[in-house]
């Protein structure tokens, strides 16, 4: 655990312009990932996970539609730290898809339907690694083979619609890996896939990570997947980090009531099939970012809500020890209650 | 000929006056009414060149499409025919018959027509050849007349021709025939009948669709060049032409369906001569001021009138017609709407004709008297100020061809004029193909505003127009669509058609005109004019009221 972080994010905030002012989509997000580490970012939809990752990729709209602040330092090829948020666009392009790559939730639509698989991979390769078309094709074959696509050479001339969703996600991974990135952001890469395929893809990612030592930021709302793949977990709610911990302590003893709720709604693999009845979902909805609740953003849904306290002041992110943080005024009391 | 035809819609759009309306464009009467100074401009006498030289671009707002001169067609077509074909004889601007393919005009004096008018003998000019070099003979004339009467052939008209029997070729340059009955207008009809080649058309399986129809061969001063449909027709000089000329190498008939564009191109010099439908009245003043251009206001044989349906309720009453006529502010129509160009008239015969009666009573605009006349006749004002008599309201519709804004203006003026005497006029215009179809032919109209050439060529015979036996709605086969019936008229019409002595005929037709004027069988407005333009330096232009197109003598035109 002593490797230096390849990516350090500090006080990341994203605000979108909307009717009648600005809306904070993400505020005050800080975290870091080290080489070979997998950080899972979890939360319901609308919690700001994807915005965070797109902000790091600089794929969000430009100002004035969208404002990004904070710092995100990525270790460059030469070890220098690059602030992703302040890099000029031309330099950012050299980093994007090269040092930091991303795969997306929708393998069905994330590939250009009118271009062959080969073209789409070689395009990525040749963009960052000057080489001949033929050499790039060889490299593409190697990558396709690497991500476990059978008969890779024939696949070069295939179009995306010839492939299944799982296969397409493998192609996406191949594209992301083409330049051996230091950080791979995987935004819900398995959500749209069948359970068996999901497992295969997760396996593949794990294997690739072991091979290349890249850091993976794994965005998901599926805590089952988190348990399987993550080293550390970042829980987000309403655009903020609400809890951060290593995966085991978090699953063993969630501190933030929101995390607890999330965990409760997960179909436990060991219980699967045995437990009848619906999973207890967290009641209520993610707050409207245009009208965030006062105090703790989670208080309207929290079963430990204490009027006059939770809705009065916004809680700060508190260091709990072991590099663990939580954002809750009552976490001590609650953990005592639940322990009791 | 057809004065009133389907407008090419284009003419209707920008241009307004279509053939109908342009003919409607009043008449500045005779050559004496040419714009001042035009004689001076024409001054410098020049001579035609030795050999054909140069070209003339004739701008037309309607497209010539029919090149078989025996088939149904309109004036623009005939303008082309004059240059490709020849008739036996033609009528010059003064109304004299001039021999062309014939050596002389047959008459009772020279023995060409028998005393009873039944036997005709035609002697032909020698040495005439068709454009392809084949000699022209009496067989061609015989073939032409027989083709017109051939059952399957869509001849334009068999009026007169159907009387011709026993055509005999007595020599290559002479033929005779017998008429079923004596028919004086036939001389005039033949002056507009072009002779077609037997050796070509006679070979065709179906003369209606023969290739000849789009690659005509004639005996005229120009030969067929090419046609770009919808755009232009090109004719080349015929070096073997039997008459004088041609002095031009080429003639291009350019189809410019919009009168504004037509005028613009005349102004900019792309068009050398503006033919049918002429210069639009709103441009006339400007055109007259143009340098290097001459404007000719030429009378046509057409008379603009309101043709009432004499069987329609209120209009059957002569007093109503008289009152309506008196309530028309003719001067306003002519001066304001037609820019003072046409000449008011009381007759259906153009004033240039030998048969014209100059002594008809003059129109008087007097709404007050008109009102009194209607009061006296028992037409009382009813609801909305509209008069009534015996339950019949004094209301009528007036129709004309749509897309003729100038005439629509006249209609609207009329509406206001007639409202003042308690007559309710409603406008009910229709496209040409509709109004002149059953609506007109079967007399389903109430009144129309129309410009009609009543003449048969240069002949004033109006039997088809006013004979009681010529009412199609009553089974007749003529053009008496206004349903005029008067036994005295029938008698005079028969008399006029069978007289060969012009002085005697003149008396007959003067009587006819005065009866029509007295009965107000039509409410005559004015004799139409055509405002044409030529470039300065273009000589030989001679408007001819008897030929339906002033392209009739292009062979005589030349550049100074």
């Amino acid at each position: 655990m002593s490797a230096p972080p390849v990516l350090e994010v500090e006080n990341l905030a994203v605000r979108f312009r909307a009717e009648g002012g600005e809306v904070a989509a993400v505020s005050d997000v800080s975290f870091s990932v080290r080489r070979g580490e997998t950080l899972a970012v979890v939360g319901e939809s609308g919690s700001g996970k994807s915005v965070t990752s797109l902000a790091l990729m600089r794929l969000l709209p430009k100002p004035p539609a969208c404002h990004i602040s904070g710092e995100a330092r990525l270790a460059g090829q030469d070890g220098r730290m690059l602030d992703l948020l302040r890099l000029p666009e031309t330099e950012m392009r050299a980093v994007r898809g090269n040092r930091i790559a991303m795969i997306f939730q929708e393998p069905m639509t994330s590939l250009n339907p009118v271009k062959t698989i080969g073209r789409q991979i070689t395009e990525a390769i040749r963009l960052h690694r000057p080489m001949s078309r033929a050499a790039a094709e060889e490299e593409a074959v190697r990558l396709l083979d690497l991500v476990g696509i059978p008969a890779p050479r024939q696949r070069l001339t295939s179009y995306p619609h010839h492939l299944s969703g799982g296969m397409r996600q493998r192609v996406m991974i191949a594209i992301a890996l083409s330049c051996e990135p230091a950080v791979l952001i995987a935004d819900e890469p398995t959500t749209a896939l069948d359970v068996t395929i999901q497992a295969q893809i997760l396996d593949l990612l794990r294997r690739l990570q072991q091979m290349s030592g890249m850091a993976v930021i794994f965005i998901t709302h599926n805590l089952g997947v988190v348990a399987e793949i993550a080293d550390r977990v970042l829980v987000m709610y309403a655009g903020r980090v609400v809890e951060q911990a290593d995966v085991r302590p978090l699953f063993a003893r969630p501190l933030m009531p929101y995390t607890t709720g999330l965990l409760r709604s997960v179909p436990r693999l060991d219980l699967a099939g045995r437990r009848a009845g619906a999973l207890p979902a967290i009641p209520g909805n993610v707050p409207d970012p245009r009208h965030p609740p006062t105090g703790c953003a989670f208080h309207p849904r929290c079963e430990h809500f204490q009027p006059g306290r939770c809705d009065a002041a916004a809680p700060a992110l508190e260091q709990v020890g072991d590099g663990r943080t939580v954002r809750c005024l009552r976490w001590r009391e609650i953990s005592l209650e639940t322990a009791a | 000929m057809t004065d009133e035809t389907t407008t090419t819609r284009r003419g209707a759009f920008l241009g307004g006056p279509t053939r109908r309306s342009l003919l409607a464009l009043g008449a500045a009467g005779t050559a004496g009414l040419l714009p001042k100074g035009s004689l001076a401009q024409q001054g410098r006498p020049t001579r035609p060149p030795e050999r054909p030289r140069g070209q003339v671009v004739v701008g037309l707002s309607q497209e010539p499409t029919v090149f078989n001169p025996l088939m149904p067609a309109i004036e623009v077509d005939q303008g082309v025919w004059w240059n490709l074909f020849s008739p036996l004889w033609f009528t010059d601007p003064e109304g004299n018959l001039v021999p062309d393919l014939a050596r002389e005009i047959p008459s009772q004096e020279n023995g060409g027509i028998s005393a009873d008018g039944l036997t005709w003998k035609i002697r032909l000019r020698q040495g005439v050849t068709w454009h392809d070099g084949t000699p022209f003979t009496a067989e061609d004339v015989k073939y032409t007349l027989e083709l017109i009467n051939a059952p399957g052939f869509r001849a334009r008209s068999r009026v007169g021709h159907s009387l011709v029997k026993e055509i005999t070729v007595t020599a290559p340059d002479e033929l005779t025939w017998r008429m079923e009955t004596a028919y004086a207008p036939y001389l005039s009809i033949l002056s507009l009948t072009f002779i077609v080649p037997k050796h070509i058309l006679g070979q065709a399986a179906d003369p209606n669709t023969a290739p000849f129809n789009n690659a005509p061969v004639g005996t005229g001063p120009f030969r067929w060049g090419e046609r770009v449909a919808g755009d232009h027709i090109l004719l080349n000089a015929n070096p073997r032409y039997h008459g004088t000329g041609p002095h031009l190498e080429r003639v291009i008939f350019k189809y410019i369906p919009d009168l504004t564009v037509l005028y613009t191109q005349f102004r900019t010099g792309q068009v050398d001569y503006v033919g049918i439908s002429g210069i639009n009245p709103p441009f006339v003043r400007e055109a007259r001021a143009l340098r290097g251009r001459k404007v000719h206001v030429t009378p046509t044989a057409s008379v603009e009138s309101i043709a009432p349906n004499l069987e329609y309720g209120p209009l059957a009453d002569k007093t109503v017609r008289q009152a309506l006529y008196m309530a028309i502010n003719k001067k306003a129509i002519i001066d304001a709407i037609y820019y003072g160009l046409p000449t008011p008239t009381e007759s259906f015969i153009p004033r240039q004709s030998w048969a014209y009666n100059p002594d008809l009573p003059k129109h008087r605009y007097d709404p007050k008297v008109a009102n009194e006349m209607l009061d006296a006749a028992g037409w009382r004002r009813g609801a909305g100020g509209v008069r009534e008599k015996n339950g019949v309201r004094l209301e009528l519709t007036n129709s004309t061809t749509t897309g003729n804004p100038v005439r629509e203006q006249a209609q609207q003026l009329l509406m206001q004029d007639w409202r003042a005497i308690g007559a309710d006029l409603r406008i009910n215009n229709m496209p040409a193909a509709v109004i002149w179809g059953e609506f007109w032919q079967q007399s389903k109209f109430q009144s129309v505003m129309v410009s009609v050439n009543y003449m048969l060529g240069s002949d004033p015979d109006v039997t088809p127009r006013f004979s009681s036996k010529a009412i199609p709605a009553k089974g007749g086969r003529g053009n008496n669509n206004i349903q005029y019936a008067n036994p005295e008229m029938d008698r005079l019409l028969f008399q006029g058609a069978t007289q060969f002595d012009q002085a005697a005929r003149r008396d007959t037709y003067r009587q006819i005109q005065s009866i029509i004027r007295d009965d107000l069988a039509i409410l005559p407005l004015f004799q139409a004019v055509l405002v044409e333009g030529t470039k300065e330096g273009l000589n030989g232009y001679r408007p001819n009221i008897n030929t339906s197109s002033n392209c009739w003598n292009l062979r005589e035109w030349y550049w100074a």
Binding site: - | F13, L14, G16, T260, P282, T402, G403, P405, P431
Partner: protein, 295 residues
């Protein structure tokens, strides 16, 4: 002529969306501008003539072709000395009337054909939709001209004419909507409850397919006003002396060089009205189509 952009497909049936739609519409600035313009044009056309000292059909032959802003007549006089402003207003009445009525009729035909074809499907539906296809094979103007030959020019016939050439789009929209909707729960439920076909189609299905039809209706008004001007331009328009923007334009052509305002004013009026309706249609489309929320 305008074949304005496509009409959206399915939209949410719920009426509770109305206020949200209205809010979205209000956000569409050009659409609001269009609505305001149309309102003004309506007011001018239907109230304006009562405020003017001139009659639109009174001919004053001594004062023809008076230019705008030159005398008693604010916008000048026409070729017969009639007040241009009065004629523009009365012409607006006719043109707007033609536009709206033709729209209503074509909507009625389109909805009827579309609903029947969509609900019954099968041979009837196929036959009807092939008919729609066949009519759509004619360029509108061609069809319009061919039809115009059939009837005498006049206000009513022109309305019928235009309606007869603009119902096909609506028929297609409604057919598609109904076909999609009839499988949905509420139609099935109504059927199970034993409702008559007519009831299901016109009480349950059609109202739920209304959103795109409303958009199409607005665009049809625009198209109808344009078509009226085309028909008039081609000489098959409304009979004089009744003015419409189209026949005013038609009559003005020969005076284009000498009295250009006669052609320019009605042309502007048409453009203004048609643009406004098109913008309203555009705004409605955005407002009624939730899929476009993000745009």
């Amino acid at each position: 002529m305008s074949s304005t952009a496509t009409v959206p497909e399915a939209t949410a049936p719920s009426r509770s969306n109305a206020s949200r739609a209205f809010r979205r519409f209000r956000r569409h600035r050009m659409a609001v501008l269009g609505a305001v313009t149309i309102t003004l044009l309506f007011l001018a056309s239907f109230l304006g003539p009562y405020l003017l000292p001139f009659n639109d059909t009174y001919i004053d032959i001594m004062h023809r072709f008076e230019g705008p802003f030159s005398g008693a007549h604010i916008l000048g006089t026409d070729e017969l000395g009639r007040d241009m402003l009065a004629r523009l207003m009365m012409g607006g009445r006719i043109s707007l009337l033609v536009g709206l009525t033709a729209m209503a009729i074509s909507m009625a035909i389109g909805i009827l054909v579309g609903a029947i074809a969509g609900y019954y499907g099968g041979v009837v539906g196929a036959a009807l939709m092939r008919l729609v296809d066949a009519v759509l094979c004619f360029p509108t103007i061609f069809l319009l001209l061919a039809l115009a030959a059939l009837i005498e020019p006049g206000l009513l016939s022109i309305i019928v004419l235009i309606a007869a050439t603009s119902w096909m789009d609506v028929a297609r929209i409604v057919e598609g909507q109904i076909r999609a909707l009839r499988e949905r729960d509420f139609a099935v439920a109504a059927e199970a409850l034993g409702a008559s076909d007519r009831y299901i189609v016109f009480r349950e299905l059609v109202p739920n397919a209304m959103a795109p039809v409303v958009v199409a209706a607005t665009l049809t008004v625009a198209k109808a006003i344009l078509l009226e001007s085309y028909v008039s331009f081609l000489g098959y328009g409304i009979q004089p002396p009744v003015p419409s923007w189209g026949n005013m334009l038609n009559n003005a052509q020969i005076y284009l060089t000498s009295a250009p305002w006669l052609a320019i004013l009605p042309g502007l009026a048409i453009t203004l009205a048609v643009t406004s309706f098109n913008f309203i249609g555009d705004g409605l489309r955005d407002a009624l189509d939730p899929r476009l929320d993000g745009r």
